[in-house]
Symmetry: C2
């Protein structure tokens, strides 16, 4: 059993895009990669079999906040961790719960110690501290676990962002201290990734990148983007952070985004992504396809018996028709949620696989430009 390692294999000629392999004790991850979000131990409406065979997911994400509340730590610990519990045997990354807890505006309170919040399920009160969140993630058992940070609201003032970053940095020290003094739980190696914050302020971001880099972790993340700021600002900060983070470690951009956001940020040197967009939008009838965007609720698809997307290689995209999927979603049939989620996730995984091929071929930049135009089309 060995710590996570990153083998940077290829660099694109015309951009900062790169292709590599992350090795974990649960197997390898080809980068760039997209990670489906498995909130409470399940990628919504998709089975583990479908994730493997149809979506072709290599790593999935679990949400600490949700898993901590339900099924709870004892169930996960006695199961032998989240992989054993869910039957997903490939790598898992867990977030720190910070983002979810800060979203509970009104019911949470931040202090130096940590964050007090109320469960959305039963109203019970809990405290997440940096130390406790390390313990929790140790028990959940992700291969990659995330630092507990404060996520300042999008568009916050410089002064707030600065104070918030200072707190995040003090918490980061506490995270590493606890992480380094506690053992792996289940016989495989866990790896802690620190998170860059600093709002939309370049000097704060730079300072944060340097602090994060000083931890010499196995990988580094960029948080606090795609939280309401304009898209050009998001790109600018992402690019800036990539330039100030070590190039020999994987870079993970948290919670981003659309397919073209992903293509753009790959060109800046991001290696890992996660987002609820493919599953959430799919459940709301918005499909991402290899030819563009489909609002399957639209009456124009009522009699369209063509496959949902022949550009992908899975039976859901190839064998079910647009008219049938439209009917299922309008009738609130669960199968509609499943087909739409698989379509969108498979599109995201296909996209990063294609991106990798073009990085290796050295023509990523021109391919990205054409592909972005294609993906953004409204069909």
């Amino acid at each position: 059993m060995a710590a996570l390692s990153f083998n940077l294999q290829y660099q694109d000629r015309g951009s900062k895009a790169r292709a590599g392999v992350i090795s974990t004790d649960h197997g390898e991850i080809q980068t760039p990669i997209f990670m489906p979000v498995g909130t409470a131990g399940s990628v919504k409406a998709v089975t583990q079999e479908q994730l493997r065979s149809d979506v072709k997911a290599q790593v999935i994400l679990g949400n600490t906040y949700h898993l901590y509340l339900r099924p709870g730590l004892e169930v996960l610990e006695r199961a032998g961790g989240l992989q054993q519990f869910t039957g997903w045997d490939r790598p898992i990354l867990t977030d720190s719960g910070g983002y979810q807890v800060f979203s509970l505006a009104g019911t949470r309170k931040i202090s130096e110690e940590g964050v007090t919040f109320q469960s959305h399920i039963d109203g019970s009160r809990h405290l997440f501290s940096p130390e406790y969140v390390m313990d929790i993630q140790r028990i959940i058992g992700g291969d990659i676990i995330m630092a507990f940070d404060e996520c300042p609201p999008g568009g916050c003032e410089m002064d707030y962002a600065k104070k918030s970053l200072e707190l995040t940095n003090r918490w980061l020290d506490r995270c590493f201290e606890r992480f380094n003094s506690t053992p792996d739980r289940y016989g495989y190696t866990q790896n802690l990734f620190p998170i860059v914050q600093g709002g939309t302020y370049k000097d704060l971001r730079k300072q944060s990148c340097e602090y994060v880099a000083s931890k010499n972790a196995r990988g580094n993340a960029i948080g606090g983007l795609s939280v309401g700021e304009p898209e050009p600002v998001m790109y600018e900060i992402c690019d800036w952070c990539c330039d100030h983070l070590p190039s020999n470690k994987p870079r993970y951009l948290m919670g981003v985004g659309t397919p073209w956001n992903i293509l753009e940020c790959i060109s800046m040197g991001i290696d890992m992504f996660d987002c609820v967009m493919p599953t959430r939008n799919g459940r709301n009838a918005m499909l991402f396809t290899t030819n563009g965007i489909i609002n399957i609720d639209n009456k124009k698809w009522e009699f369209d018996y063509s496959p949902i997307d022949e550009g992908l290689n899975n039976p859901y995209s190839n064998n079910y028709s647009k008219a049938y999927l439209r009917h299922l979603l309008k009738s609130k049939e669960y199968l509609g949620l499943t087909i739409a989620s698989i379509q969108n996730l498979a599109l995201y995984l296909w996209l990063v696989e294609e991106a990798r091929k073009h990085i290796i071929a050295g023509d990523y930049f021109s391919w990205k430009t054409a592909m972005t135009e294609r993906l953004k089309q409204r069909l």
Copy 2:
């Protein structure tokens, strides 16, 4: 393309149970058989791939009332029928919509002509007549289509049941007249099954069986059971009807029931069953397993990491644990609905397959007694 045929292969030595093969233009059905209910063109929370590979369904049911309202006849007709529309390429049986329409108490009105009712979706008014229901089922395109009958309420008076049966018989004539004067739509043969009614009154049931038999259809159904009467009465009437229906045609008992109901009625000579119980109860945390009944909501399963049911041969029953399924259902994760539905459907299909083996072996009766005890156990 040929009309449905029934090859009665084996008769049990110790009961009236029988094993056969129904041949349709969409393939063969080994009997006795259970048909999962695919209400609006989807067996709820289960994909067509899972129905084929994991549930091992041979034929599924579609509901005329639901399909007529949504997606509607034009969508189904232009698709080339329900098989083309859904991608389910094995046989389909459609009900007549009668049962659903009569369930809309308060918003429906029965006359000699037919039944006027209001859509549960948009309140629009519609008339189902025997003729129109034949036309509708022609368009939906089931291999087996059902007569439009009145379903009297469970426990109704003799007088009501008699008048209702007379109406059902007049409607039956009109069904056959329309059916026989209209062509198959999509290049394969459709087959109309008449339905025995008569409440819990043996003389009415006998009269109905004789009337139904006189139509010389390819198969015959028994309706109006399991609608509130005591279980022993249901068994008595079912047995009575089997004795008065032709033995060389498949006998279909509509809407029944628990696994042990099915075993009991097989012993009387029933060949085909359908019921929403496996899927509906599954979604409500009640599991049928090869070892008995599980209420997976129960706290006793919280730390039970054993497979849901090792007695079945599919990855959902074998690879997911009771603790995980409990967590999914408590967290209202869609995956929980899928796993529970597959477990219960696979149990039903396994059960009729085992029944068939024991009919062939000639020891059905003793096997049924032991199996009933096992299945009814509360774990």
